[in-house]
Amino acid sequence: MSVLVNKNSKIIVQGFTGSEGTFHAGQMIEYGTNVVGGVTPGKGGQTHLDKPVFNTVVEAVEKVGADTSIIFVPPAFAADAIMEAAEAGIKVIITITEGIPVADMIKAAAYVKDRDCRLIGPNCPGVITPEEAKVGIMPGFVFKKGRVGIVSKSGTLTYEAADQVVKQGLGITTAIGIGGDPIIGTTTKEAVELLINDPETEAVVMIGEIGGQLEADAANWYKNSGSKKPIVGFIAGETAPAGRTMGHAGAIVGGSDDTAQAKKKIMRACGIHVVDSPAEIGKKVAEVLA
């Protein structure tokens, strides 16, 4: 098993015919992902990358049975695209777009909450279940199939962690990039919970960064769950100064409780195997699974 996406997912690409959408949809198809079409308003009826283009998401749901969407729509229109997908009945909405105004995301997050669907991102690398579905912008070859789940706020750091895990002779069940914005659809805790409950996942790697309370919430949930499945954790940004945004809009130290040090302390207290060095993630996973 895996979580969120698998070989049976029927995936559409919103912002299909744009340059980002075209490039990454092409990569996804090449990987073997079940892309059933795309949406670009005004271009319905055309064919792009040998797949049908629809004007609306609801049309894609009706005609090709789409249940998963990946969004490459530009920031000014991305929140609207998320809400359109939710209203049309898409179950998993993965938003890659970076730079969506916070006010737009407050509305979109509230809208999605009232509907039967899950939002991943925005500002994330997507989700990959190796050898089944790559619904994101990650380099597929890094992720080999296996028994370790990954949850991460960052793109390249996810690839780094996956690479280290794979080089230990282990592989990945599903890697979930939850995104680095202040408002994201699926929290660290929710993503960790999905993987802890996945029977095929034997260990979880949880990668966070400075800012916010998501890692602390996940750690507390894990402790209370009583789960025996090990979690290896890393928090980036120990050397980041307070009050400065470090690339990701959400990566900013606001007070004493959202520093890397504070987060790691809580995670350790909750039984998570925290590594201080980002070079030791893979080694630690092998150690806890030995």
Binding site: A103, G180, T239, P241, A279
Partner: protein, 396 residues
């Protein structure tokens, strides 16, 4: 984008929020003209001279002074303009003051004692909703209030589909202990403030203090306003408010080149693709015995031109003793990045600090070969730890 107090107040006022009125001045002469004008408009005879820099705690550093005559306006403005203002929120060197706000004196005597409150509007990341945070303890450092008397801080969370509701505005006024005219003024103030926050696409409003004057008016005496950079595309009319003098010149240059750069105090520069990996690389530099000199995310494309710009930016800092390049090639091929590094290096002639390049991912082996055979003084690594060890070796 951070704004000056006078710019923040301009925005507040445009949405009907009552403010302490003022005029900005660049010179002592302008300050006197401003003061005269303000006296005509408001009847104030005393003026407050306030340094306009992007930092809090200005009063503590001597950046806010009361002038009781036009002579004092000229004298005090002359002292403040051009000074290096050091506050708890600036670096040790302080921030140069280029302009002052000449503001009306609002602490005049009257029937009631003036009262100061604290109020801010911001995003509650835990709930994904905006909230109004307010306190009876105005004019003080709110973090200290939160620590010593947390029961004096109140919050009101806003339903994104409804906006601020009238009962919530009343609740704020009641919790601040207001009645009569001041109560009405406060509900009006809060309502207008929240409207300004949402319509201007702000990410922070901090009004400290909000003042109830001796004649029961409620006004914003200070305004710390931050606008959401992601939403600036729909507020072209605010673009001119960016004051580049307040920003780090290297960061400004980086931004123009499309690079995400934050200047730090350390001795090892770094160039990384991706924000999370960049932070992790900084942490690894520290563990290897160095201190990161910067945060730099070069993004998805690392061609020769970008790499060269990035090298130049990093080398502007004379403290840099080594540079660590850490690229995880995904869609971007490592050999292309390596070629970019070699080309940039050759274009720049000599680089006087050792460079360690770690390329991992697509075509990492070819990239390593390319670097090793380039004849340049560049060390290559493939594993993350290997790169850290090389940084350590270079520093010792």
């Amino acid at each position: 984008m951070n704004l000056h107090e006078y710019q923040g107040k301009e925005i507040l006022s445009s949405f009907g929020v009552a403010i302490q009125r003022g005029v900005v001045a660049q010179t002592p002469e302008e300050a006197v003209v401003a003061a005269r004008k303000l006296t005509e408009e408001t009847g104030t005879s005393w003026h407050v001279i306030k340094a306009q820099v992007h930092a809090g705690g200005r009063g503590k550093g001597g950046g806010v002074k009361l002038a009781k005559s036009l002579e004092e306006v000229e004298k005090l403005s002359g002292q403040i303009i051009g000074m290096n203002l050091i506050t708890p929120q600036t670096s040790a060197e302080g921030k140069k003051v280029h302009q002052v706000l000449i503001a009306e004196d609002v602490y005049y005597p009257g029937d009631n004692e003036p009262e100061e409150y604290y109020m801010s509007v911001l995003l509650n990341r835990a709930t994904g909703k905006n909230m109004i945070m307010y306190s009876t303890e105005g004019g003080m450092d709110i973090e200290a209030v939160a620590e010593k008397t947390p029961h004096l801080i109140f919050t009101e969370e806003i339903d994104p589909t409804q906006g601020l509701l009238p009962f919530q505005a009343r609740k704020v006024a009641f919790n601040l202990g207001l009645s009569g005219q001041a109560f009405k003024e406060m509900t009006k103030f809060v309502t207008a403030l929240y409207k300004a926050y949402t319509e201007a696409d702000a990410s922070l409003f901090e009004i400290n203090p909000v003042l109830k004057t001796s004649d029961d008016k409620v006004i914003a005496v200070d305004a710390k306003v931050t606008l959401d950079d992601n939403a600036l595309f729909r507020h072209k009319d605010y673009a001119y408010m960016r004051d580049l003098r307040e920003e780090n010149p290297i960061e400004v240059e980086a931004k123009e080149a499309g690079l995400n750069y934050v200047d730090l105090d350390g001795n090892v520069g770094c160039m990384v693709n991706g924000a999370g990996l960049a932070m992790a690389t900084m942490d690894l530099i520290k563990q290897a015995g160095g201190e990161p000199a910067n945060f730099l995310d070069v993004g998805g494309t690392a061609d020769a031109e970008r790499v060269e710009t990035a090298f130049k930016l990093i080398l502007k800092d004379p403290n840099v003793k080594a540079i660590l390049v850490n690229i995880f090639g995904g869609i971007v091929r490592c050999d292309r990045v390596a070629q970019g590094i070699v080309d940039a290096y050759k274009n720049m002639g000599t680089i006087n600090v050792p460079i360690i390049v770690r390329l991992q991912g697509t075509n990492a082996d070819i990239a390593k070969e390319l670097i090793d055979n380039s004849g340049l003084d560049v060390q290559s690594a493939i594993e993350f730890q290997e790169a850290a060890d090389k940084v350590q070796a270079v520093l010792s």
